[in-house]
Amino acid sequence: MPEDIKCPKCGSKTVVKAAKRGPNAGRSFHVCTRYPECKGKVAIREQSGQSPTPQTTKTEPTIDVRGISKWFGSVVAVNDVSLQVYPGITGLLGPNGAGKTTLLRMIAGLTKPSEGEVSLLGKPPHDNFRLHRRVGFMSEHEAVYGFYTGREFVKLVARLHGLTPLASAVDRAIETIGLTDVQNRPLDTYSRGMRQRMRMAATLVHDPEVLLLDEPLNGTDPRQRIEFQDLMRRLASEGRTILISSHILEEVETLAERILLMVSGKLAAAGDFHTIRVKLDERPYRVRIVVGNPRSMASALVKMDAVDSVTVDPDGALVVLSRNVYALQRSVPRLAQEQKIRLLRMEPLDESLESVFSYIVER
């Protein structure tokens, strides 16, 4: 009977079966049958009836990064970052240019750190081709072999992983991301979102236990995002480790249990999303308000609890500092109506992600 355990050699799940032939036939070992060349053995604790000890336990991080830095000439892309990632979904957040992609590429083994060590599933990932059987990486670059159909592309990846039976693995991956109808069209004819999803199918085809996804939601529409989030939750519930990078807070907010914040090549914060969110909510926002009578409006605004301070800029517009921007949004139109002041414009001044991250770093 197949056991729901991991092969210690290739990391595949639910493919380790009791050996039927040979010296270990069904007695003290399970032998992996997922890949013809694998034959990884798992000891069976027959007397206690316990399942074999998996290689990676909950207490060991799947990804362990220790003091890594990466510089390209005089540019420091990642600066002395240490972090651990455990099974479940972890969001890697940061503005563009923060070093997220470089960090992910070092974890995947595409780039060697200039300094420090990376351990993925207990092994260094750079130049470790056997490890890639257990890892799925999706880069932010959307380039694909455009002359291949979607199915041919996923099939190529499955072949390179040495999957057998090939067709069912390809079918399952394409079905998972819901592109069965268009699988025989050349990738060149796909929309950006469809291409992203087919790349996701190729990333999932070998059923990896670790997923490293760099901006995977680029080019997807809202419905596809919801489907993607559902898929990620399902994969995480199966015990996989998923690290998703994004520069959009809201993309990761509903998905990640834990987030890592990167700013200017450094790890600015790490923890559960709630803690980070509280920090964000405490942050004062600046809102610019243009009204017909700024002085009267300023007098009325300073009396509000939601307002920390009000200044009048040289153009006559009001710049309001508030820690409760939602209350401010609701109150200002009503206040203007009560004061019979014409409200012309209301806009946030520092909504960019960079300013949000900078605030957290300063804290």
Binding site: T111, R130, H132, F137, S139, A143, L160, H161
Partner: protein
């Protein structure tokens, strides 16, 4: 290896590239046909002409240019469009990525160049079978050695095509013609040595400017192996874009 080989053939066999190769491969055939048509029966200068045609045109110019055009793109296209990560992040040994890339360049340009040299020899040397075999073997050895060099070059530089052309012109063209010692470190030298060594009678004109037959064989094999290993090493150590 099969999927990467098929993928590489797809990537390399672009229509414009193939047309250019075909056009270049046709030149020696056309010239040899002209020589054959205008020279009388048994004219001795026909052999001189075909010797020089094979050396100066096919081996010194067309063969390296065609191989550069293909082999530098074996990895070059994937480095440019950043699709190389699809190959290197798979449980596949680096040597089994490099080998099909190298083979795909050889499979595309090898037959065309060998056919070109063989047909030209048939025309000019009045159907000498031994000469045709010698040309085929020598050109094959040359194509394989050049493909190994330029596959490596395509992986280490985005300007491999320009550097390759300069190298071919200066080292293989000018220096190996005038400096005897350079022929021991030149793919052109190895190719000519194999050609002459396999049929000394038909290619006796080349006798004064070729290195020893065994040196040619060892040199071509050594270049191929060394540059294949350098490419594997580079792929293992590089930061993949």
């Amino acid at each position: 290896m099969g999927p990467i080989f098929r993928l590489s053939l797809h990537q390399l066999a672009k229509r414009r590239r193939l047309l250019l190769i075909l056009l270049l491969a046709t030149l020696p055939v056309a010239l040899a046909a002209a020589i054959s048509a205008f020279a009388g029966e048994g004219e001795s200068y026909k052999a001189d002409l075909i010797n020089n045609l094979l050396d100066a045109m096919l081996i010194a110019a067309i063969m390296p240019i065609v191989t550069i055009a293909l082999a530098t793109r074996a990895f070059g296209d994937e480095l440019e469009d950043r699709t190389l990560s699809y190959l290197v992040l798979k449980p596949v040994r680096r040597s089994l990525i490099v080998l099909p890339k190298l083979l795909s360049s050889i499979v595309i340009c090898g037959p065309l160049l060998i056919a070109s040299g063989a047909v030209a020899t048939l025309f000019a040397l009045d159907g000498s079978g031994q000469a045709v075999v010698a040309v085929g073997v020598a050109l094959f050895a040359g194509v394989v050695a050049y493909a190994a060099i330029f596959t490596w070059a395509g992986l280490i530089s985005t300007h491999a095509l320009s550097f390759g052309l300069i190298y071919v012109f200066l080292w293989e063209g000018v220096l190996s013609t005038f400096l005897g010692g350079v022929r021991y470190l030149s793919v052109r030298g190895y190719t000519l040595a194999i050609l002459h060594g396999m049929d000394e009678k038909s290619f006796e004109v080349l006798g004064q400017r070729v290195i020893e037959f065994p040196a040619g064989i060892v040199g071509a094999a050594a270049v191929t192996i060394v540059f294949f290993l350098l490419t594997v090493r580079r792929l293992r150590r590089m930061d993949v874009p």
